[in-house]
Symmetry: D2
Subunit: 284 residues, 4 copies
């Protein structure tokens, strides 16, 4: 089974970046199987993602990183170089709604999500059976109004012990504390419903129904300290009409939420999402 | 060419409405070619729309209205009964962007919009040639910061003289005064861009680009005194990615705006849109 | 918990059908919660579906059927009257691909599919564990080139013993014999991939990739003796590009197949699909 | 106003192509504003498209071509290098249905289609007024069963005299003769309706209605000698239901046809479509 080195770069745009990087790869005999580039002309920033057949390069990942470092410095790059054999370790967090979790577990089982699932953490114990049936550890960390600091300290400790790389909030109905958002910046993915117009407060699907919207949507984004305002990875919608009850909207919402989250997570795992400021470049 | 009577009803939901109405129609020999009904169980309200072959009924529109009035009173109905031969007279209002206007004129020429276009009113003179080439009168009513009351008095006078039934704001970048909104309540249709999240202020497509949204949309709605908050008729979206510049977003926005407005207007003209409070039932 | 009587009717179109039926229901005090009608003017045929609050009618299902029978005769109706408490018994048939089965089981667990799942029948034993974990019986009926008559006799016997009402081919890669198709006409639902243009023969996703299609789709339809030509219930598509490999297409195909099948089955279970000749009316 | 050099390359995939080409561009000081690449791993073929700020290169187009030729030979490239100031000359061909033509003319007027429209050629005289109002020459070349060779000789002569680069069949209901297809291979774009399943013969929308399809579509493709089988550029669909009459399907078909054709033509004009065998790479 082939494995690949994935090189992801973001840097100020200037002459000769592609030439320099592709020369570097060609100079080491690297066979590029997928290449994506983007120049954000307004921001003056350049983004690239290369997938290189690992066997075509006579170097270990460490050696390749060392060799590339001077190029990166020269162009002031933010960069990452990963071996696809080094799977990311992901922690899934969930509350009581299971649709996103079940969908992710199925896709993971089917080989659609290239990661290890280190554990599921939940503030409820409802899904233990289903999760453990998949052979995945389940941690119940109750969260109440009066124990939030302790609860999230426990979550943080768990994530650390589990050696997790990324966190997916698969309908986890709690707000992560700022320190956790910062520590895992660009590695915590959330899914939330979206509407035109948007609705604040409780029961958004009921509000959307009262307003007679014709579309309901979902947005997958990286979590930042500002609630639901982090860089958007993916969005999609589902059409609705006056025929649909609030519970129909909730049901359609589940479908679009799970689809959008699965797409966003897959792209994250494949290093297809590059963050710059509060927006993303997605080489989907 | 067959013509039809269209009966549109909204009333408190209770036993026997359909029986009473369909008996009434059958009792006059009416052949129903299209029937739609909806019970809003939360609101306790019933909506129906019947299309009846006019020749199957041995009565004029006036006679049929008189005959139906007692039924309507019995069930406390809001209702309308129209003859499809009596085309609505529509005034189109436009500023400088022509995409919606051109699209509506083409669809009207192609027979997709069953109405008379009484005139185009614009605060600019740019589109006179194109509009007059279609044989439609063009009225230039400049609007400036210091002449708004006079300008809209002139608009109102024109709409009245033109004997217009409905007004379409086809990218008319001015806010209609409250009295005009009230006078033509449920008969002024607007199109505006929509985003997830939404963006207030100028240059919304540039803001959406800066935020890295993955969808841009448009909403067609009836105009009320509260800006962009009236009952929604139709919405749709177009996918975008990091590859797209602000001007690409503007271009996609044009496409989705014109499509959504044309659909909404068509449904309005065919009496498919029933308003209840701040939402619509659309028998599309 | 309220239950409902669902009346589904198809008959030659003529004057007074709605009046007669709605009089009948109102005459028995029936409160209609959902009503849909359609006149196929080309075919001269009328279709209707009423959902009636059972408690509003002082009659059992049997009594109501007896009372309605004369009305049905008068209008030469094909009709069905069901109590939503009488859940349909469904048999799922599957081969080796699990995506549709897993999706249906999840939706069933989540209450989206109002039926009993009598059993899963498969020509392979792969999914026994997962199915039995859901508490559903699993029957392995191997099918080989030289045992088809016996195998399908066994399938038919099982379906009969299980007292199944409907059969779902959730990626069951075998062709049902004609007698089974006839016996369960209008009650066997299949999902198959669809492309523009269409591709006969093996590995359709690879063929589609070679042809460079920009859309892949899926069609959910009732099974008839003619392969993949029965009445269409639902279709949908997923966009693809040159970036996508054949295995990406297979993956997208899984998503669109499971979504389309779930929608079609739900509508079937809710008596929203009326068949006429080789087409359907879907009151979705 | 900036102009750009567009380099489009297709060649056997091997080590160092990107390095060689980007070195070449960087070596001449070229500032790349957009870069797209694709490796078709099955076909072993590489595709690239670069957009280079012309002013950043101190060479004329001719000089740049001469300088690049050795690189192209080295890698056995099919390639083109164009200056965006050299607009393509396009001939539009149309029969009696105007929706695609009107849409293209509007987009062209709005600056969405970067080309010169050399003329409209039609086998009918219906649209002369509208076309000439846009300031575009109109040529009426009647085609009848008994004059096809003469008619198409006249078409070919016109296209030649008009010095046209590309031909768009915007609902031109005639089949081009093989010699014309060959002569303008990869430069004749057609739009045709598409259905699942597909329908041969006359009145396809009526056939689709009879079959009860839930989607109607359109395909934009390059014309080859084999009817409707050339490389696909773009496809899209529109949802339909049993409510829709054949004339509704025709109307939706017009919308999807014009949208898909406009997208396909825009990509063609921007050199975003690379043909390989019977499929395309579209750097949209």
């Amino acid at each position: 089974m082939s494995h690949f080195y994935r090189l992801v770069v973001s840097c100020p745009d200037r002459l000769g970046i592609v030439a320099r990087v592709s020369n570097f790869i060609a100079g080491h005999g690297g066979s590029i199987t997928e290449a994506s580039q983007h120049s954000d002309l307004e921001a003056g920033r350049f983004f690239m993602r290369y997938e290189i057949l690992a066997d075509s390069i006579g170097m270990s990942l460490e050696e390749l990183r060392d060799a590339f470092a001077p190029v990166a410095r020269e162009f002031d790059m933010q960069w990452a170089l990963r071996d696809t054999r080094d799977k990311r370790r992901v922690v899934l967090m969930v509350s009581r709604e299971s649709h996103c979790l079940v969908d992710l577990l199925y896709r993971w089982t089917a080989g659609e999500l290239d990661c290890d699932i280190a554990a599921v953490i939940s503030n409820h114990d409802d899904m233990r059976g289903m999760v453990e049936w998949h052979g995945i550890p389940y941690h119940h960390v109750p969260v109440a109004a009066d124990n939030k600091p302790e609860a999230f300290a426990r979550v943080e400790q768990l994530v650390e012990e589990l050696n997790a790389d990324s966190i997916v909030l698969a309908r986890y109905m709690q707000i992560l504390p700022p320190n956790l958002c910062q520590r895992y910046a660009g590695r915590v993915i959330n899914i939330h419903h979206s509407f035109l117009p948007s609705f604040a407060g409780a029961k958004p699907y009921h509000q959307a129904h009262d307003r007679g919207v014709k579309l309901i949507g979902a947005t997958c984004h990286y979590v930042t300290e500002e609630l639901d305002a982090g860089p958007i990875i993916e969005q999609d919608i589902h059409r609705v009409s006056h025929c649909h009850t609030p519970s129909d909207l909730v049901r359609f919402g589940r479908d679009v939420e799970k689809t959008v989250l699965a797409r966003g997570l897959r792209w994250h795992l494949e290093d297809r999402v590059l963050i710059h400021g509060n927006k993303t470049v997605v080489f989907a």
